[in-house]
């Protein structure tokens, strides 16, 4: 089953197993994956999962959906190791069995389905104070044609704000840099 490895926020390194169905990612309550940040559109993108196939389709989001730093304009296939960027969140796709890379800068923590569920529940109970929070539920029963998956209902990231700054100047520069990056991304979209 396709998996997404979270590359940002406090849940960096965790793997999410995607269910065998379409998953809507967005800021709006009711999306399958809710990323509660203003950089995410209400309904940002659609992930289609069928067997080992994973595709992404932007739903007219303001900041776009990016695969390997290329903004996607139509439904685009996500391959093994591709980097999916949705707003401030980065994910790496694992389509098949994990391939030992050895060069990855992000240590991937392996989790069985049960442990992921436990992790998600524990995380929910913690006071996450603005950092990535994932609230999840596991399907009560597994069916033959619908293998058991971890179903994600809410992800709340704010990874940049969790950096440790030693001065106002340092924090200010980080904010200005992020603002400029966002501005460039928006300008790049204007000719459409």
């Amino acid at each position: 089953m396709p998996k997404l490895v979270i590359l940002t926020g406090k849940n960096r390194g965790m793997k999410l197993t995607l269910p065998q169905r379409d998953v809507v990612v967005g800021r709006e309550q009711g999306c399958d994956i809710t990323l509660a940040t203003h950089e995410i559109s209400r309904r940002h993108c659609l992930l289609k999962i069928a067997g080992e196939s994973l595709t992404a389709q932007d739903l007219g989001s303001r900041n776009g959906t990016w695969i390997n730093d290329v903004r996607i304009e139509k439904e685009t296939r996500i391959g093994q190791g591709d980097i999916l960027r949705i707003g401030p969140m980065l994910f790496r796709a694992e389509i098949r069995a994990p391939v030992p890379t050895g060069t990855d800068d992000v240590p991937v923590k392996e989790h069985s389905e049960d442990s992921v569920v436990n992790w998600l529940i524990e995380d929910d109970q913690k006071d996450s104070s603005g950092d990535s929070t994932i609230i999840s539920k596991a399907p009560d029963t597994a069916t033959i044609d619908k293998p058991p998956t971890v179903e994600i209902s809410t992800v709340t990231p704010a990874p940049p704000s969790k950096k440790q700054f030693h001065s106002v100047a340092e924090e200010a520069q980080d904010i200005i840099r992020r603002h400029r990056e966002m501005k460039v991304a928006l300008q790049g979209r204007q000719p459409e």
Partner: protein, 186 residues
């Protein structure tokens, strides 16, 4: 209705001299024109150095401050201005829409935050409203504020109890040397 009018009049009287810190000449000119039409005296500064001089010489009773400036950012400048004179209200007027920017602006003492492009009538009402709030805070509630203390602790466990006057200021923990910002809210 009459009381409301009287309050607005008083707020207008509180803020009459406005320092505009804006490095974009066209934006500064437009803002200056708008404020002068409404009877405010204005002066402009395009960076931290000019803002410092103007703050001391012009003695503004209100500051409109951009965040992205050559050299020192508006955040740092805001923090300094509040140390020079905490009773001068500061309204941030910036194109930065990030929530982190608003949070940091609040921490360094800004009294208001507006994003560009701005609606002139909203800006004018914000000036009036913020001037009123800061005036009340510094004149009417000073006694009560003085009695309160901000309590917070460093990661090393050292506890602090400081006057609200120090809100937003930076300090170093005497025990572990960790840099700290005195929080605005406990």
């Amino acid at each position: 209705m009459r009381e409301e009018f009287a309050i607005n009049e008083m707020a207008g009287a509180i803020a009459t001299r406005i320092l505009i810190v804006e490095d974009d000449q066209a934006q500064a000119a437009a803002l200056r024109e708008l404020l002068r039409e409404r009877g405010f005296q204005t002066t402009t500064a395009k960076d931290g150095g000019q803002a410092h001089s103007s703050f001391q010489m012009f003695k503004p009773d209100f500051v409109i401050l951009d965040l992205i400036l050559p050299g020192e950012s508006g955040f740092e400048l805001c923090e300094k201005m509040k140390q020079w004179n905490e009773s001068v209200p500061i309204l941030i007027l910036s194109e930065i829409t990030l929530d982190d920017a608003k949070a940091l602006a609040k921490r360094v003492g800004a009294d208001g935050y507006m994003t560009k492009p701005y609606n002139p009538s909203v800006l004018l009402s914000q000036i009036s409203e913020i001037a009123q709030q800061v005036w009340e805070r510094t004149h009417l509630k000073r006694g009560a504020e003085e009695e309160r203390r901000i309590r917070f602790s460093c990661r090393c466990g050292k506890r602090f109890k400081l006057s609200p006057r120090h809100r937003g200021r930076t300090m170093t923990c005497p025990d572990c040397g960790e840099p700290l910002i005195v929080p605005f809210h406990e």
